[in-house]
């Protein structure tokens, strides 16, 4: 046992954690018999109900960074971190379900790059597939590193041990059952994450005397700063702990980054494409949005509770390492240690491990599909058998995991995990959203416009990032203020790169010959007959539930304005 570790496990904890690993592996072995064709392996047979696809959609996003990173961000920035769950997710998820899903689903594409091939041609697909593959592998490495680091702090486990055990487990169940296995396990992981983390919120709120008691203690512990309001401190960069302006939150996060991630990141969209029919595919993101809206209860509230009750201050990872203090990322384990005895502690650790593994499985399955269908089949071997592509899917899962492991070791040298990932989002995701949304909603967009918009948007994003790295004073141009912090910079960089993508796409499209409408059927709004669900009862319509979720979002924002 490492003398610096935060927790030690009792036999009951080991039983709980062990049962989890046995179950996820058992599910993988059980599902192998149902995974024979390409559609089975890469799209779970397109047979998932709205509930399964919706929960998997959210769970694939509940990775290491979500749980550990945002609980830490809530401690560091207060309730502002909730923006990443509400305005930074819900509108985009509803937009995916109600507006975009019909085009993804009716086109029968197997991936987002696959849609770009149908809409803009091979060059746009190749650009998107290669950038997505790169981002996914890096994300997976970040996930692994975050998990290994936290396991080292919590339980004293060696970094390499954590990385290899989790990777092998995910590798086994994904290689066996493909997306079907990943989705089944993601639903299981979603339930465990809630049951493991909700204990902290309930007991913590009892300790502080409820919501108002918690807020009073947060005010008391953060004199001179406002950690408890969502919007009222966003009038100026220096008025809030995050150093961000409301335009950055609304346009950068709420529009570009959020819409980019939730509507075009294949990691999450793949889960919805597995739905058994169009209504389920439209309903899944709406169900996901309802649950996403509640996730702050198990991520943000524990961060605020830590701010309220912990008798010591948490600091950044670098300072923590130098001064032997606890870092922001240790919020959840510290709160687990505070409230959970043997057995419950095991459940809490299982929740964290489940989060890590669901994120990793999401990355690996998405990478495997894009590699096999959009890179290997498109560029290397066009006419092989379905069986061959399933085999390639299994091998690319293994190779993808190995590259991720290599990436995890590289990321160990990087200090700011969250900032690093946000930067990646703005490199690839924001321009991709510009290309996909124009492709779906604007008939006049041409293949050349789509390709050059995507390419130049991505280059502009990387260019702005490099500019600020080389000359920090450039922040006043990129983020519109020298006071802007890293996350604010990411928001604005995403916004500019999206604007570059859209402008280039529009200009090049007007300069090139449009595609005939007959080639746009099933791909573009105005050329695609959307099946009506007019005969369905109101409560079965995705639009009805989307309106309810949107109303919930507005009310919640007003409550903590």
């Amino acid at each position: 046992m490492n003398s610096n570790q935060l927790l030690s496990l009792a036999p009951a904890d080991i039983l709980v954690i062990g049962a989890y690993f046995v179950t996820v592996l058992g599910i993988g072995f059980y599902l192998k018999r149902f995974t024979t064709t390409g559609d089975d392996f890469f799209l779970a047979g397109r047979d998932m109900t709205a509930w399964i696809a919706g929960l998997s959609f959210v769970s694939a996003n509940l990775g290491a960074l979500e749980l550990m990173g945002w609980a830490g961000a809530a401690y560091q920035y207060g309730i502002l971190a909730t923006h990443w769950y509400w305005i930074g997710a819900i509108p985009a998820m509803l937009f995916l379900g109600i507006v975009m899903m019909p085009f993804y689903y009716i086109s029968k594409t197997h991936s987002v790059p696959g849609y770009l091939k149908l809409r803009f041609g091979e060059a746009a697909r190749a650009t998107s597939a290669i950038s997505f593959g790169l981002m996914t592998i890096l994300m997976s490495g970040v996930n692994m590193y975050a998990m290994a680091l936290i396991m080292q702090v919590i339980l004293g486990w060696d970094l390499s041990f954590s990385i290899w055990v989790s990777s092998l487990t995910v590798g086994v169940y994904v290689v066996l059952g493909g997306l079907l296995s990943a989705i089944f396990n993601e639903v299981l992981q979603f339930v465990l994450i809630w049951l493991g983390a909700l204990v902290i919120t309930i007991v913590g709120l009892i300790e502080t005397g409820g919501w108002s008691g918690m807020m009073a203690r947060v005010h008391q512990n953060t004199p001179g700063a406002d950690y408890t309001h969502l919007w009222s401190t966003l009038g100026h960069f220096s008025d809030n702990p995050m150093g961000i302006h409301w335009t950055g939150i609304v346009l950068g996060l709420g529009f570009v980054i959020s819409f980019g991630y939730w509507t075009t990141d294949f990691l999450v969209v793949q889960r919805v494409l597995s739905a058994k029919d169009l209504r389920s595919a439209r309903m899944a993101p709406v169900i996901g949005a309802a649950f996403k809206m509640a996730v702050p209860l198990i991520v943000i509230v524990p961060g605020l509770l830590a701010l309220a009750v912990l008798p010591f201050k948490l600091v950044g990872a670098d300072e923590a390492a130098v001064n032997h203090m606890h870092s922001y990322n240790e919020v959840l384990p510290l709160m687990l240690a505070r409230y959970c005895g043997p057995g419950l502690l095991g459940l809490g650790i299982t929740a964290l491990v489940a989060g890590f593994m669901s994120g990793m499985a999401g990355n690996v399955t998405a990478f495997s599909t894009v590699w096999t269908y959009d890179i290997y089949r498109a560029l290397i071997r066009k006419n092989a058998s379905d069986e061959h592509y399933v085999s390639m899917g299994r091998w690319s899962t293994i190779v993808g995991l190995l590259i991720s492991i290599g990436t995890a070791y590289l990321v160990m040298r990087s200090a700011g995990i969250m900032d690093y990932v946000q930067a990646l989002f703005s490199f690839f995701i924001a321009p991709l959203f510009g290309t996909v949304v124009l492709g779906m909603l604007w008939k006049r967009a041409t293949p050349a416009g789509g390709f050059w918009g995507l390419l130049l948007g991505t280059i502009a994003s990387i260019g702005m990032w490099a500019w600020v790295k080389l000359d920090p004073s450039a922040l006043r141009y990129v983020a519109m203020s020298q006071d802007a912090k890293a996350m604010a910079e990411d928001m604005y960089r995403a916004l500019w790169s999206w604007i570059v993508c859209v402008l280039v796409t529009v200009i090049v499209s007007y300069a090139t010959k449009p595609l005939p409408e007959s080639q746009l059927v099933g791909l573009v709004y105005g050329c695609t007959p959307i099946p009506s669900d007019g005969d369905l009862a109101l409560y079965r319509k995705p639009q009805f539930w989307a309106v309810l979720v949107a109303m919930g979002l507005v009310i919640l924002n007003i409550v903590v304005w």
Binding site: I27, F34, I52, G343, L347
Partner: protein, 67 residues
């Protein structure tokens, strides 16, 4: 195909047994370093919740059961 909810039910049932059992054991042998608010015996309550949820899902989604 067996429903995913059945797998979830079985796992939660097992967790309920372990966590409730541990909570009851701690009634007779309190730990040397109790957690904050140990007097709430949250392990017992959470164990019961898991047992009920797990039992319900296992029964409802038991393979071959006519629903």
């Amino acid at each position: 195909m067996i429903s995913i909810w059945f797998f979830i039910g079985v796992l939660l049932l097992f967790y309920g047994v372990v966590i409730l059992g541990q909570g009851l054991y701690e009634l007779s042998s309190p730990p040397a370093k109790p957690v904050v608010l140990a007097s709430l015996h949250i392990g017992i309550w959470w164990g019961i919740l898991l047992l009920v949820l797990g039992g319900g899902y296992t029964r409802h989604f038991f393979p071959g059961r006519n629903r």
